[in-house]
Symmetry: D2
Subunit: 139 residues, 4 copies
Amino acid sequence: MYVYEHTLRVRYGDTDQMGYVYYGKYAYYYEQARAESIRALGITYKQLEQSGTMMPITRMNIRYIYPAQYDDLLTIRVTIPELPGRLITFRYEIYNENKRLINEGENQLIFLDAATRKPKRAPDELIKKLLPYFAGDVP
Amino acid sequence: MYVYEHTLRVRYGDTDQMGYVYYGKYAYYYEQARAESIRALGITYKQLEQSGTMMPITRMNIRYIYPAQYDDLLTIRVTIPELPGRLITFRYEIYNENKRLINEGENQLIFLDAATRKPKRAPDELIKKLLPYFAGDVP
Amino acid sequence: MYVYEHTLRVRYGDTDQMGYVYYGKYAYYYEQARAESIRALGITYKQLEQSGTMMPITRMNIRYIYPAQYDDLLTIRVTIPELPGRLITFRYEIYNENKRLINEGENQLIFLDAATRKPKRAPDELIKKLLPYFAGDVP
Amino acid sequence: MYVYEHTLRVRYGDTDQMGYVYYGKYAYYYEQARAESIRALGITYKQLEQSGTMMPITRMNIRYIYPAQYDDLLTIRVTIPELPGRLITFRYEIYNENKRLINEGENQLIFLDAATRKPKRAPDELIKKLLPYFAGDVP
């Protein structure tokens, strides 16, 4: 299991007239946290794409528990629960400054060959970075 | 069961550098289709809010099946599968111009009193509009 | 001079906690109206891009006169004031349902060869469509 | 003159199919940098709003000089050129990691009483924070 925490601040443009963060903005938060979780492994999604791997989203589930508001400093805890094969899963928990869990979600992404747009296995460069976090897993 | 179809066109700003509609944009598409499905009932979400009901989202599930691309004319089929109580569910199926199902999703929303932000039952004005579509349902 | 009018409805996700349309959303409205103004000429921006022309934005000026609000039905009057050369200008006036002018703006776009990303002149296929609207102009 | 520098990273959802940051995203970047420039003064826009001042945008001018791309780390230099009266101006210069100036812009905002939504002068709490930076200015 690989876990990473990223913090970000809610922008005015993220709110709606209810005074809450608009429900569509969480996908952007997830993406930002996901990219930073990969960067912390020592590789970037940009590099993966440049070396021929695209990772479009195939699923998203979100549970909205408590509203986020303008200027809140949110902590997003990103988890990769399993070593990826043809798909990779990211889980997210978002906490506000009072350590309250306000949002939970999950994304599933598929590995595509960037040129052919056909499915393929997770690239070795990513697996190599993730392996240490799954060392004790019984295959 | 209440069903409504709404069409919209993909904007350039909805795409990302993969050349696909960014996964976070579907929540906006759902909202637009949801609002139009309510308007077609003879009431608007704006009126519901003005008469004291807010409906924040509590859940969203999305399955991304096939990419949408710039300038695609998408048809969003919105379904309200059950008469709402304290919660309301909307389901979405998105089809492209070739009638291909490219996306499926679901939202659950909660009814709040706009002043107190406390949960309440679906307002009568909405129930009245929906009742004819659920006439045969055994309570 | 070429003039075209497009209408669109403000989405909930376009509002911010002031209860107004967020100032960053107007660029999306302009893009949507601009694309439709081109489509009305009998050609699409998608086709222009597919036949090798990209049109990134080089300038934008916006004057925010009066707020737009959720569910407003806005009319965007798009004007192309001059036959394009290496650049093209689009002007926008946005009116609400009370015919009040609420926003004015302008974009300048540059024509690029999509493969080389070098500047080029406006493609003939676009000029041909625009010529009738500038017939009386003294060159 | 008050100057502040903020850095942010381009998200995937900020790009479009040209592979550039979509032109409408700069308003969000400006807002984020503007909010941080105020926070660095020892006050927040959130506090200003809570104590009764709203600051909607009245003008925006943007010059797009060079494209920003996915994962770029951008530096936004925010300048408040003059002590505000009934209006406040913010200027922005955006640099990429190669120190290249890629974007320039300006916003004008108006001070409104949050309750009445009528224009008013800049609140004293903001003026007090800004005064030291304009100490030598001849009135």
